[in-house]
Every structure is written in C-alpha cells, then in structure tokens.
Subunit: 347 residues, 2 copies
DNA sequence: CTGAAAGCGCTAACAT
DNA sequence: ATGTTAGCGCTTTCAG
C-alpha cells in the first residue's frame, strides 16, 4: 500500500538498515550512499510509519494534555487556547505532537489518561488545573510517568514538577499598587475559593491590606459563582454599602465586565470615582470602553515552560522536581489613571 | 518492563493469540477460558500497547484537528474551545483520541498534517477554517485521506465533505428580523471579507435589505480588521453620519462590545435609541450590561457533527461527500426589545 | 475452541 | 561503511 523502508532499500540496492541510517543521518553512512538513498526516498515519496518506530523505540514524540475542567469552564477566558498555543509552540519546535483528552467527567478524563499512558500514545503529560480530590496526578506519580502540572499541586504531595504564577505575590503587588493610588476602601470580587488561584489571590490581597494597616470589612470580600445573577447581587451589595468601596480587585474578566456595566448604569465613573483592577490580562480588554488595568499572568509562557519541562523530564526522568513560577505583571489600562491624577492633585 | 500479551499468556497457560481473542471478546473462545484469562489480565494490570496494535491493524482510533488560523486568532471568541468540545465529546463516545497540529505558520501546519497522515498517527482529520490559497485541503484530497472541513471549501473544489452554517441565510434572517422591528437604516459592521464567513454574512445582509426595498448606502457597510483603532474609527464614522443608522448588524462579539462602549460614551441608549444585533452567541454576552441579541451558530454541534462525519468516512471511505448545514438561531437579548415596543406604540 | 507461526514497518546489535 | 538478523507487541491466517 504505502512505501516502506524495504521498498526504498530494494530500489536503491541497499539494506533496509542502511535506509534507516540515512533517514537518521547516521555518520556511519558514506555521503555517496546517502545521496543515492535520499534520492530514492524522495522519488518514492517515502514517509515514516510512526507506529512502527514508536513500537521499537518505545517513544512517541508526543505529549498529552489533560484538560481537567474542560473547555466548558475555560470557555470565556482565553486561558485554554493561549496555554495550548504556548505548549504547541514548544512542541512544534521539538517535533513533538499533541494529544488531548476528550472526557468531560472526572472518570472519563481519568480513563483517557490511562489510555494515553499505558497505551504508550505519549511520552509525557501536561495537566491543566488540578483540583484537590483528583485521581490523575496521583496516578501519574505512582506510574512514575513524566508529567508537569500547570497550577499548584495539593499540599500533601511531593515530587511534582509544576508551573504556575505566584498568585499570592501577584495579588499582594496589585493590592499595594491600588493602595499606592490612595485607596483605603478596597473590595475583592472573585470566583469560588475552592480554586486555589482564587484563594491564593484573596490571601495576597489580605496580606497587603493588613500590611498597610487598612481595615477591610468582611462585606468587602465577595466570593461567588461565575454567573450573571450572583455577580449582580454581589456587586449590588458592594455598591449599596454605606461606606462603598472606592476600588475593586476582580479575579475574573467576566466579573469585571459585569462590574463595569453596572457601574455605568449607576453613573459611577471609572476611573474618576472608582478604580477597577482585574486579573488575567488579555487582548480582549482593549475592546472595553474602559480599558482595564490588569494583571498579566503570561498564560502563553505558562504553557511554553510546561512543555519545556516535560520535554526535559522525558529526556531525564530522574530529574529533580522543580517549581517554576512565571512572574506576573501589572498592565496599566485606564481604569485607574485618573485616580492617580486625583492623588497628585491632592498633593 | 510493562506487561504484554505474552506475559499474560504464559501465566494463564494459553497462547498469545488466545489472549488477544479474549481481549477482543471473540466468540470463538469458551467462557471458561475467557474468565481465566480475564482474571490474569486484571491481576497483572495488562494494558494494550496501541502502537503495536496500530501497526498491524493500520488504524489508530485517533483523529487529527488542523488548527489553521490557530489559537491566536480565535483567542477572544469561544469558537475554538467550543468546537473542540463538540469534537471531543463525539470522539470520547467512540473511543477515539484527538491529535492537534501545533504549527503556527501555513507551512508548519502543512508539515504537521503530512506527519499525521503519512505517519499514520490518525485515521481521519478535521480541518478548522479553510482559506482560499490553502495547501492542506488539496493535499488531503489528493491522498484520498478521510477528512471533513468545518467551514466552506473553495468553490472550485469538489468531493469535500463539509459542515457549516448557512451564513448567507442566517444573515438574511437576522436582517429581516431587524427590518421587522421597523428599522430602515441598518449598518453592517464586520471583520475582513477575506474570510468567507464575513462575506457570506454581508451577502445575506444585502439580499435582505434589497428584498425589503431599503436603501443601504455604502457608508453603512464597514469591513475592518479586528482591533481597537480600526473599530473605533469605523464606529465613529457611522455615528457621525448625518443620517446615522438606527440598527447595527455586527459579525463579531469584539466589535459589538466596542460598539456598546462607544454608544454608552455618547449617551446613545441601547435599545431605546439604536438596536444592536451580533453574530456568534456565547454565554459571555450575559455579562454585558446590555444583553445582546445574537445569532447562535451552534459551535458545539459544528464540532460534534464534523467528528461524526469523519467517523463515518473512516468506516466507509467511498462514501459520497456531503454538506451538513447546522441551523442558526436568533437568541433574543435585550438589545432590541424596546425598539419592538416603540414599533408597537406607533401602531 | 485453541495454538503455532508469520508478519506489520522499523531499529539496533552484531557481523562482515 | 553496509548488510544480516532478531525482535518491538500485537493480530491473523491456517492448522489441528
């Protein structure tokens, strides 16, 4: 059916192994034969059967991506495509291909992982978002299979290489930034604290306000599911306080968009009257009427570094685990500038 | 290293072929032996080496996804994750796995495709977004490799199974809807017409206005690159016209968001003063202060049906090509309601 | 109903 | 520098 190494060998009058060596550019082969064989290779349109090679070399040049909390959840924010772009870029550079889990439920995902690992479909794995009671990471760990985690492992686990941002630190910084603008009443609006990202950011926020000696009442902290109803309620609560916040630290673009909308409806001007700062920079914010000040978590890098790590881990499985933190950066939009000017005016 | 069919055979005192038959649940094997072998299978934690099986069966139970116009472009809209979710769901049901191209450039993507196809890594392919001068589709066609296209093939090509929406039709419908609300001055704001989606939608729009006997001046049609600067300019132009439009048909959420923002800045009320309707529904719009009226293109279905099609095509490669159109649906938000009321009031 | 044997396409000793 | 050979782990005739 399709041309094999044997066909080429026959036509070129050499042994199959010679053809194999030419393909891998072995220095043991004379330039003359190489040329000859390469010509036939091209003529016949030879292409390697990867399954055969994988079978004997026991490697696949492929890595798997575990999409826990699948597409559905990451639907609105560019995290998913962006992190895959990072992973993909690195893999492409190294000639690796990418395999995705397709399961939606925890169990289906677990099955996918087992199939990839045991079925020898991939040489390593990248796990996106790990949650507390997750079977995948322990399984990979037990199998001694090369993998890295994007996110943070459960505290009771060791031996895991993971890539993430320092969300505590990032939140501290951005909070200090807001405090530096002169704000005293800062609200924290975020998603469910069951996600480590959120609880870390909250922690960073609290550390910063404490450090600054500010008093942040409990009503200033809203941790809610990501939907319109709960969002509106939380924001209404905040705006309805007798001592309403003058600044908002928001963990999710969606909530920030909602907030901006509600503020506009109430004729509260951003940034003249309140300041809004939001996590997870994306080019989307350019299209908002009030370009937000955001924290860039460098999603692409997260993916790229993760891929690099599995790659290293595959090459050297005994490598010590490590933890790479991708720095975050405050991207100044316009949702705080005027406040700064106010401050200056006051000075 | 890891347990093979031979190990199991030895321990169970049967031939390797018997084990293979048990795994595939061949009716030729007695229940007794099946039980015995299954027990050992489980005991030893056997798992199939897919590479070995792929090698002999010449099939992979995997399909490839060609991400033309990669993640980077689909970054802001949920199309990419959503379509993959659809594909993934079907594949998962059928025990198929998913492989992604990682290339960013046209050439790199092409290389990825060749590697997948010739390397026998996948049994079929799904191509997302085809553009005019694309090498991938002709290649696949020439190879006689099973694939389906999500989008629309170049007009000069035949024999391609493709899945898409009827964008002309959808645009016609939604335009008629807007006209039905009483609008006479309708603007069309969209991305680059080099994308078939856009030009089709424009065509549908034009057909509908013509049909209704409306006059749409050239200045009402803005086809621009998707960025803030060009967007603002186009919208400013439209709003600055002496006879400014009373309704906007927008092809992209991003532009719609920008439009809403600029309208708010100018104190133009939506929907009291102007109506805005936008293509590509997503749950994101719930978070906008003015819930948009949108056209749902059913991205998930697009992916799901595409997967189903390659699956059928793999099973029966001689199958006639077909074209599946996923219907679109107008999802009424609030960005047009009041206008309807106005109309009624006038009646 | 089960076993023996050949072979999928490739690589990697081991020869020469 | 190149050829020979023996598998990788599985499926699949062909026998029995």
């Amino acid at each position: 059916m399709s041309v094999t190494i044997k066909d080429v060998a026959k036509k070129a009058n050499v042994a199959p192994s010679t053809v194999s060596r030419v393909i891998h550019n072995s220095p043991a082969i004379s330039e003359k034969t190489k040329r000859k064989v390469r010509k036939v290779l091209k003529e016949m349109g030879y292409h390697m059967n990867e399954n055969a090679r994988n079978l004997v070399t026991k490697s696949t040049k492929a890595i798997g991506i575990v999409m826990k909390s699948s597409a559905k959840e990451s639907l609105y924010n560019p995290f998913f495509p962006e992190v895959i772009r990072g992973i993909g870029d690195f893999c492409n550079k190294e000639g690796f291909s990418l395999s995705l889990t397709t399961g939606e439920t925890e169990d289906a995902i677990f099955e996918d992982v087992v199939k990839m690992v045991q079925g020898r479909r991939v040489d390593g794995m990248i796990v996106l978002y790990s949650k507390k009671d997750d079977k995948v990471v322990p399984y990979l760990l037990k199998q001694g299979f090369p993998f890295v985690l994007i996110g943070k492992p459960s505290t009771n686990m060791t031996g895991i290489t993971f890539i993430d941002n320092d969300n505590v630190q990032a939140a501290t910084e951005v909070t200090e930034f807001v405090i530096g603008l002169g704000h005293q009443r800062i609200a924290f609006l975020g998603g469910s604290p069951e996600f480590e990202v959120i609880s870390d950011r909250l922690m960073g926020f609290q550390q910063a306000v404490e450090q600054a000696g500010l008093d942040v009442p409990q009503e200033y902290i809203k941790l809610i599911p990501l939907n319109r109803i709960d969002g509106i309620k939380a924001i209404d609560d905040l705006l309805g306080l007798k001592e309403a916040p003058t600044a908002f630290l928001v963990t999710d673009l969606l909530l920030a968009v909602l907030l901006l909308g509600l503020l506009a409806e109430r004729n509260v001007k951003v940034p003249q009257q309140v300041s809004v700062v939001c996590f997870n920079h994306s080019e989307f914010i350019e299209f908002l009427s009030t370009p937000l000040t955001t924290v860039d978590i460098h999603t692409y890098q997260l993916g790229y570094e993760a891929a690099k790590c599995v790659f290293d881990l595959i090459a050297n499985p005994e490598m010590m685990e490590k933890n790479i933190r991708i720095p975050t950066k405050i991207i100044k939009g316009e949702s705080h500038f005027a406040i700064e000017q106010e401050i200056k005016r006051k000075m």
